[in-house]
């Protein structure tokens, strides 16, 4: 008995693997052809192998619950999501373009603010931005880059076009799951890798290491790079440890570092203090340095901002980079790209209504049942309203929130997120909605991951892909048809 691959029906949504009921797309045909040969039991045993691998690899994330923190295994679907390399190359350029523009924008905001003086972005947007840091004004980081690592969420609507949903410029996470997903798939479907040209993803840690090293203020020594983690209770601790290991960097906690009177950062080693050149920090701005920000922070390092401003240590991402992470700023990114690069954006934004514009706000309030409303500065899918799935009471509550603080809300049409066939139970194949988070690096040069992390809303009909809320993932295959066929 085999799974009914030819009965799979994506219905009205754009499906990543199927062009229509029972008909695979060109990019996924070799994969589906292969999977079709496997019996139901064979698929089940591959699935079980994947689950065991995940447990043995200890791939987990932490969920905060009332009963305490639970370390949960990573929910994973063994059917990969495929993208044609030709299409990806264009997206990849679009992502580089976007991050370059955003970095020029951030640098401008902390210097002359030309974009405001020229009337492209209203001044109050900046004034009221939660993530604008006065402490960063006038500082010039290496290469003029503030956001060195960016996770940009892409979605495809029913028309099959890629859109940018949001940019994560603070401490984006997920890249380790992208890498682990590929390792799992190599163990689970090894045969497929022999016949299909799947672009490898595992150069990311090296690219990250190179980029971080290039930021070092000391050019005469091989730089010491550290990953600064809030510690074992952080939901992304697995990733912090993973990346440190892959890069050969030290994984440090705030208490491992100290800033001396010379304004340099040192780590406490078995042989005494050792100078640190680059800190890949996975701690939010406000916890970085109790001398400057949140005085109660025990996660950070007193004096870190002092050392950074003195140019004695590089911080990635730079403090204050999150100012461009604001969802109101997001709405202006197409303008930002035109303003700084004099180019048309390669990847469009999702249409966005700004609630502080009275006309747009009226539209939003009148159409709450159709829209997705998001607070400007939250991440992780928290505090948002998905109109079509909401109750009247929830909509009323959101209307109040919007009226009270219109600057802090945006709204977007509810997208018909694209789907991909996902294994449900032992032998059923059902469409599940998904998105894609590629990671973009920028130092002296730019780099984009080959694909990214595909996150899947594992619950039927759900549009929420966040791991904290029932999301899982799939491996993402950029498939090269023009390269030498094996």
């Amino acid at each position: 008995m085999t799974i009914a691959w030819n009965q799979y029906d994506p219905a009205k949504f754009f499906d990543e693997l199927y062009a229509s009921k029972g008909t695979p797309r060109d990019s996924s045909k070799p994969l589906i052809d292969y999977l079709q040969q496997l019996s139901v039991d064979e698929v089940a045993s591959r699935k079980a192998a994947a689950d065991l691998t995940i447990r043995e690899m200890g791939v987990s994330f932490t969920v905060y619950t009332e009963e305490g923190n639970i370390d949960r295994a990573w929910p994973f679907d063994i059917i990969p999501r495929t993208i044609d390399k030709k299409q990806w190359d264009v997206i990849s350029q679009g992502l580089e373009q976007r991050l370059q523009a955003l970095n020029l924008f951030i640098d401008d905001l902390y210097h002359d603010q030309k974009i405001i003086k020229d009337g492209i972005i209203p001044e109050f947007v900046l004034k009221q931005s939660k993530n604008y840091r006065k402490e960063c004004e006038g500082f010039s980081p290496a290469f003029g880059v503030w956001a060195h690592i960016c996770g940009t969420d892409l979605v495809r609507d029913t028309d099959g076009e890629f859109y940018v949903l949001e940019d994560n410029l603070r401490v984006p996470s997920g890249v380790s799951y992208m890498l682990e997903n590929r390792s799992i798939m190599k163990r689970v479907l090894p045969e497929v890798f022999e016949t299909i040209d799947i672009v490898p993803v595992n150069d990311y840690p090296e690219q990250l290491q190179k980029m971080l090293s290039s930021l070092s203020p000391r050019k005469d020594v091989r730089p010491t790079v550290v990953v600064l983690t809030p510690g074992i209770f952080n939901s992304a601790y697995f990733e912090h440890a993973f990346l440190a290991q892959q890069m050969g960097a030290e994984l440090v906690e705030g208490s491992d570092l100290v800033v001396q009177d010379d304004d340099c950062v040192y780590m406490k080693t078995i042989a005494g203090l050792e100078r640190v050149d680059v800190v890949y920090r996975r701690i939010d701005d406000l916890f970085l340095d109790p001398e400057v920000f949140n005085a109660d922070s025990v996660l950070g390092v007193p004096g870190l901002m002092r050392a950074w401003r003195a140019g004695n240590v590089a911080l990635a991402n730079a403090p204050g980079a999150g100012v461009a992470d604001d969802k109101v700023v997001y709405a202006y990114v197409p303008e930002v790209i035109k303003y700084y690069l004099d180019q048309e954006p390669i990847i469009p934004n999702v249409e966005t209504y700004l609630c502080y514009e009275p006309k747009q706000c009226d539209y939003v309030l009148a159409n709450l049942d159709k829209l997705v409303v998001k607070p400007a500065n939250e991440s992780g899918g928290y505090g948002m309203l998905v109109g079509p799935h909401s109750t009247k009471k929830e909509r009323e509550a959101f209307a109040q929130l919007i009226k009270k603080d219109p600057r802090n809300y945006i709204a977007q049409p509810t997208l018909g997120l694209s789907t991909a066939p996902t294994l449900v139970g032992k032998e059923d194949l059902e469409p599940r909605h998904l998105d894609l988070r590629p990671f973009i690096l920028q130092g002296q040069n730019s780099y984009v991951t080959k694909g990214g992390l595909t996150r899947v809303a594992m619950n039927k009909g759900s549009l929420v892909v966040n791991s904290s809320q029932g999301g899982g993932s799939k491996d993402t295959w950029i498939v090269d048809f023009e390269g030498a066929t094996k």
């Binding site: 290991q245 491992d256 078995i270």
Partner: protein, 311 residues
């Protein structure tokens, strides 16, 4: 190398050693009970005494029988020295030192933890206990083997070694103590000689030393020679002398180690000079107790030399 990481690696190594030693001890006891004449009353509760866990045990159980002792030593997460607790802490320490340890260590540790959690029942019941304990020992050896073959021999390795040999030395004193205690429990009767032989044979086996003893000493199994061998042999991996020599070797290659080295030299003197193998009785147990205190103090010195200090 970070002080905090050095501490966690040192502890990882102690826990993996502790798991293996504890499991070995249980499996030896399992065997011993088959062999001893019926009139020798050897209690499973000795295992609790050897590991100085009387108080913890009393808080959980009243009956000091096999089932409770095995449960307590294997699967009781309220017992800080149980196999499952040691594995838990091993996993936590590996998890937080993944940037320094070999990649596969993490996977093997998970495999071992998963096996123990899912098969704990096998260990409680006698029929499958042997197989279960053997699998755990194999899992430990796999991790140790991985580290031995592939770990670069710089600071992380040296801290692994310090942890391993300190824990091992401590476990050896406990095993010897258990042997002496059991010998003292045998009555002076017609079975006495035979019982002592069996006990000493098992002490040797629990330290993986029976074959080496026969080959290297060419002596019969007498308490005097056995104790001498297990304390002083420079070549037996679990002999106290050998453990201390390895700690000295590691310390010599680490920075700031002078005070620890002095203490290690002194401890070795104490171990080699103060033992009186002619009297395997309470006097020898006092000697072992002093060695344990000295080992404890070595741990404090290691900690003060390299690990993060409370602010």
């Amino acid at each position: 190398m970070l002080s905090r990481v050095a501490e966690r690696i040192y502890w990882s190594s102690r826990y993996i050693e502790r798991v293996e030693c504890t499991v070995r001890m249980l499996s030896i006891y399992d065997n011993l009970l088959f062999d001893l004449p019926r009139n020798v009353v050897l209690s499973w509760y000795n295992l609790i005494k050897i590991n100085s866990l009387e108080k913890d045990f009393a808080e959980r159980y009243t009956v000091q029988d096999e089932r409770n002792v095995v449960k307590f030593m294997l699967g009781d997460d309220t017992n800080p020295s149980s196999v499952i607790s040691s594995l838990h802490w091993l996993r936590e320490n590996i998890r937080t030192t993944r940037d320094m340890m070999l990649e596969e260590t993490w996977e093997l540790t998970n495999e071992l933890s998963i096996y123990v959690q899912e098969n704990l029942k096998k260990g409680i019941n006698r029929s499958q206990r042997h197989e279960f304990l053997n699998e755990i020992i194999k899992g430990c050896l796999q991790i140790q083997g991985l580290l031995y073959s592939n770990m670069p021999t710089d600071a992380p390795w040296l801290f692994l070694k310090l942890g391993r040999y300190l824990e091992r030395a401590d476990m050896t004193t406990r095993n010897l103590d258990a042997g002496v205690a059991a010998i003292m429990e045998t009555k002076e009767d017609e079975f006495a000689v035979n019982s002592r032989q069996i006990i000493l044979g098992n002490v040797l086996r629990s330290l993986n030393a029976d074959q080496a003893y026969r080959r290297l000493t060419k002596a019969a199994v007498h308490s005097r020679d056995v104790m001498d061998f297990l304390v002083e042999s420079p070549v037996l991996p679990r002999a106290l002398n050998h453990c201390l020599a390895n700690m000295i070797d590691s310390a010599e290659q680490l920075p700031c180690s002078e005070p620890l080295l002095q203490e290690l030299y002194a401890t070795r003197e104490q171990v080699l000079n103060n033992a009186n193998y002619d009297r395997i009785d309470n006097q020898f147990r006092d000697y072992l107790n002093d060695v344990q205190l000295a080992l404890n103090h070595l741990h404090l010195t290691i900690s003060a030399t390299w690990f993060p200090q409370p602010e």
